[in-house]
Symmetry: C2
Subunit: 192 residues, 2 copies
């Protein structure tokens, strides 16, 4: 185990995304990514199992952050509102919309990365459902609530990066939760 290199993981992730967009995902090797990041391939493999994992750097930290926010939400919030509160915390970490756009562009052009992304979101949903169980929500309701929250988040995220003008992710998320209420319950938002 060599020396720990401060920032190497994010530098590798940044280098990977740049290269995937510049020269294509297939044509990019681990050696290319390591070189661009100024480290050895050996250092690359200290952080990532393969080049695909570069796209998902930061995912575990993000999931832990969201789950912690759900655990910290007031106990008397209804389940979906607690999940909304937790997902709002993603905005603390996803502050660079350009990075998110580039990452999304790489993912949507590769079925293998899309499948992996769906799988990671499914894991986030499972973790949120477990956190809801700790709040004494019953299992069936916890699963549906968590999945619904992740779905609304995914919709909001895609809308956020597609819009020409940047606004806070939390605003888009709130808008999507309102839209869900309307379509699910026939509830009409107050005018203005």
């Amino acid at each position: 185990m060599g020396r720990w290199q401060p920032g190497a993981e994010m530098r590798l992730a940044q280098a990977g995304l740049e290269l995937f967009l510049e020269q294509g995902y297939e044509c990019t090797t681990v050696a290319d990514i390591a070189q661009r990041a100024g480290v050895t391939p050996r250092t690359f493999f200290r952080y990532f199992g393969d080049k695909r994992e570069v796209v998902f750097a930061g995912g575990p930290a993000l999931q832990a952050h969201v789950v912690a926010a759900l655990d910290a939400a007031p106990q008397d919030l209804p389940p979906l509102q607690a999940v909304h509160r937790a997902l709002d915390a993603v905005g603390d970490l996803l502050t660079d919309r350009d990075w998110s756009c580039r990452r999304h562009a790489v993912i949507i052009s590769h079925a293998e990365l899309q499948e992996r992304e769906l799988s990671k979101l499914s894991a986030l949903s499972t973790a949120l459902a477990e956190a809801l169980r700790r709040r004494d929500v019953d299992a069936a309701e916890a699963a549906l609530t968590a999945e619904t929250g992740v779905l609304v988040f995914r919709t909001a995220f895609e809308r956020w990066i597609a819009e020409p003008a940047e606004r806070p992710l939390a605003d888009v998320l709130a808008e999507c939760f309102v839209q869900l209420r309307v379509l699910a319950g026939g509830w009409t938002p107050p005018p203005g």
Copy 2:
């Protein structure tokens, strides 16, 4: 191109699932599946690209059936209700709960199959969103409505196969749509 063999596709799918459960997915070859189904490997490859595809036999027909049901739903139904109506039509095709249970057991034990299943459900959602656009629902609402419908369907399906006693899939689906309304809108179902 050899003779078309009536029922060969479903016979191969049935044989594949049986073998995956009996001897494991990894240990089962295309030759094993073909032999169990009483056809040659050459016939296998007339219907499927690889053994993984066996698990997803019937998927395109199911998607086409659901989309046709959405197109046929009354124009004045609110979007999510029209999607509910369309998903009800899945019950016409998924009549064999044992088959569905076996298929699910194979999928959840293999990450690669789970990822593929999520990807197929995502494609169903895209097709439903396109059908909603044909009903003049705006793009953002169509996407969220379709995704929500597919999520509720997936939840209902998992609940349906997990329950000890069998009841119609449509009943479980209706129950899950009520649950969604409650959690999304704070709407309370009438007592009794």
